[in-house]
């Protein structure tokens, strides 16, 4: 029965153009039969010097570059960057701008999680259909972004001390309509997948992450909460107007892929709650702090770290200013890069087919991993 290959590992290079690797990501996998024994992630194919460009460009010029980090969630990237500059200079943000920021950040979370679920299912082999349903909903939100900021994905919407353009009543009405209809899509989507035996078999007890490992590896976002750790920067930091809103933080139990999947579905429900409150409470007013100069913007000497709860986890920008027009140091703390570091621990002992599902449930965007 035993062949000469017994005990020998077969090295396979998965990617970088594999359709399920969400961009140009490669894994060097050592296999014993079909079981993964070693896994080495290889990335950097999409590296484009984001931080160095940020150090050579003015503060404002870095804002459109942050759109290109995690190109699914440009609004939250903008917010994190604007927040760290606002911390650095000490800029107040008008009330309406804070509301708009929360509305757009939660819409971003909705479309990110929706498309993540679609991608995850297509990684499992449900090609096309669930992804198409998710993208149909995402497209409605992107239409909102386009009519407000001028661009579907590269929004470049937030500014230091506010937002760039004001939302009119028509826009808010459309946003309300989309938010009201979103639960219908969620019901349908949950009916489609969450009790599906194949999905359950492919995800439960696959890629278990323990809370201790998650904390020591610096995992954040839905992936950390799926392990049962109650840590959400919206609650911890209370940035923006989040303390004013009533919402709950869904927590998982097992830290497996199914919990991570459920976490997204539950978070979307809570985002809808926040959106409903924000859209009901938003008042007219100025959207940008008039004291902030748009030309020749020079923050005082100092340093600041601004972070937000992005859809993928803690997104932070660390800036050191030497008083000049561009930052002395510009550092991004990307959630998907740090969440990716535990990939090997999650995949060991599982089959090759599970690697794709686990990778999909981490929710990475290579634009942010490689920067």
């Amino acid at each position: 029965m035993s062949s000469r290959l017994d005990g020998e590992l077969l090295e396979v290079s998965m990617g970088p153009q594999h359709p399920s690797t969400h961009g140009v990501f490669r894994m060097n996998v050592a296999l014993e039969g079909e079981i993964v024994r070693k896994l080495k992630p290889v990335f950097g194919y999409l590296h484009r010097n984001h931080e160095k460009i940020g150090e050579n460009a003015t503060y404002l010029s870095s804002m459109p570059y942050t759109d290109r980090l995690d190109y699914f969630c440009s609004m939250t990237n903008n917010w994190a960057y604007a927040l760290s500059v606002e911390k650095l200079v000490g800029i107040e943000v008008p009330e309406r701008a804070e509301f708009l920021r929360i509305i757009l950040a939660e819409l971003t979370r909705l479309q990110n999680h929706a498309s993540l679920l679609g991608f995850l299912l297509s990684d499992m082999g449900a090609w096309g259909t669930p992804l198409m349903y998710a993208f149909r909903e995402r497209e409605k939100i992107l239409d909102l972004f386009e009519s407000l900021s001028g661009s579907r994905m590269m929004c470049d919407y937030m500014r230091f001390g506010g937002c760039r353009v004001d939302a009119d009543d028509d826009w808010l009405g459309r946003a309300k309509q989309i938010v009201d209809r979103f639960p219908k899509f969620l019901d349908e989507f949950e009916q489609l997948i969450l009790q599906n035996e194949i999905v359950i078999a492919r995800t439960q007890n696959v890629g278990k992450l323990s809370a201790e490992l998650a904390i020591s590896a610096g995992i954040t976002g839905p992936m950390l909460r799926a392990c049962g750790v109650n840590y959400d920067i919206r609650k911890v930091d209370g940035y923006g107007f989040y303390p004013r809103f009533k919402f709950r933080i869904p927590l998982g139990d097992h830290g497996d892929t199914y919990d991570r999947l459920m976490m997204r579905a539950l978070e979307m429900r809570e985002s809808i709650e926040i959106l409903k409150q924000a859209l009901a409470q938003i008042q007219p007013g100025p959207i940008v702090n008039p004291k902030v100069k748009i030309r020749a913007f020079r923050p005082p000497i100092g340093e600041a770290y601004g972070r937000i709860e992005g859809p993928k986890g803690e997104l932070g920008f660390y800036l050191i200013s030497d008083g000049g027009p561009n930052p002395y140091r510009y550092r991004v703390r990307p959630p998907s890069f740090i969440n990716l570091t535990v990939l090997e621990d999650l995949c060991l002992g599982h089959t090759v087919a599970d690697v794709m599902v686990i990778l999909g449930s981490i929710d990475i965007v290579m634009g942010e991993v490689d920067r």
Partner: protein
């Protein structure tokens, strides 16, 4: 029972399949080249330069201050300032761009040039059907291709253009009022008028005047008159 979950999922796909024929929510496809969904007012693509009046050359609002060139994140704007001045649309002598190029293969449509421009001269176009057969020069837009009339701007961004026109008119009115006030103040201050020879003297004389001033004690009669 195994299989119930799958059947429930199938019911969803069946509903979507049937709905995709008549439910407005699910009829989302637009047959693009024949049928177009309207672009939103705020849609932006690539920058254009706005000119007033009929003449694209004379009416160009841009004064080649180069702020957009400095602030452009991917550095896709290239400007050479003119040596001479020409009257702008308000009649004030201003520099103008001798060369104004935008490499739209580099431009990332961020709109920062529009925001930093103090003269409302650069705005965003909505034209997105820009595919070209050539690789290099065709995507480097020169001043002539970038210049678009104010009417065109009104056509693509009606609300924004109206606000810009109002701002410009207000600014012009304020400048006019200021000029009038200054003229009135000058007229009021006219009686102790300076010597006509000094006022009519050209550049070199005034340079002499300044030199003379430094040697003479303050409060004395104008030195130019003592010299002549």
């Amino acid at each position: 029972m195994i299989g119930i979950g799958i059947l429930r999922g199938m019911a969803v796909t069946l509903r979507n399949f049937a709905g995709s024929y008549f439910e407005e929510d699910r009829l989302t496809t637009v047959q693009y080249p024949e049928e177009r969904s309207p672009l939103p007012e705020n849609y932006r693509n690539f920058p254009i330069l706005i000119y007033d009046t009929e003449d694209a050359e004379a009416g160009l609002r841009c004064v080649a201050c180069k702020i957009c060139e400095k602030e452009c994140p991917p550095q896709c704007i290239y400007i050479i300032k003119s040596e001479d001045k020409k009257p702008d649309y308000m009649g004030k002598p201003q520099f103008y761009p001798k060369v104004f190029d935008i490499d739209i293969s580099v431009c990332m449509s961020c709109q920062i040039c529009v925001e930093v421009c103090p003269f409302e001269a650069i705005k965003m176009d909505k034209d997105f059907e820009l595919s070209k057969r050539e690789r290099f020069d065709a995507l480097l837009f020169r001043k002539e291709e970038l210049s678009k009339s104010n009417e065109y701007y009104h056509r693509i961004h009606p609300v924004e253009a109206a606000a810009v026109d109002k701002n410009l008119a207000d600014a012009a009115a304020a400048a006019e009022a200021k000029k009038k006030a200054a003229a009135a103040a000058a007229a009021a201050a006219k009686p102790p008028a300076p010597n006509p020879t000094t006022s009519s003297a050209p550049g070199p004389a005034s340079a002499e005047l300044r030199r003379g001033e430094s040697t003479s004690a303050p409060g004395e009669a104008p030195p130019a008159t003592t010299k002549s």
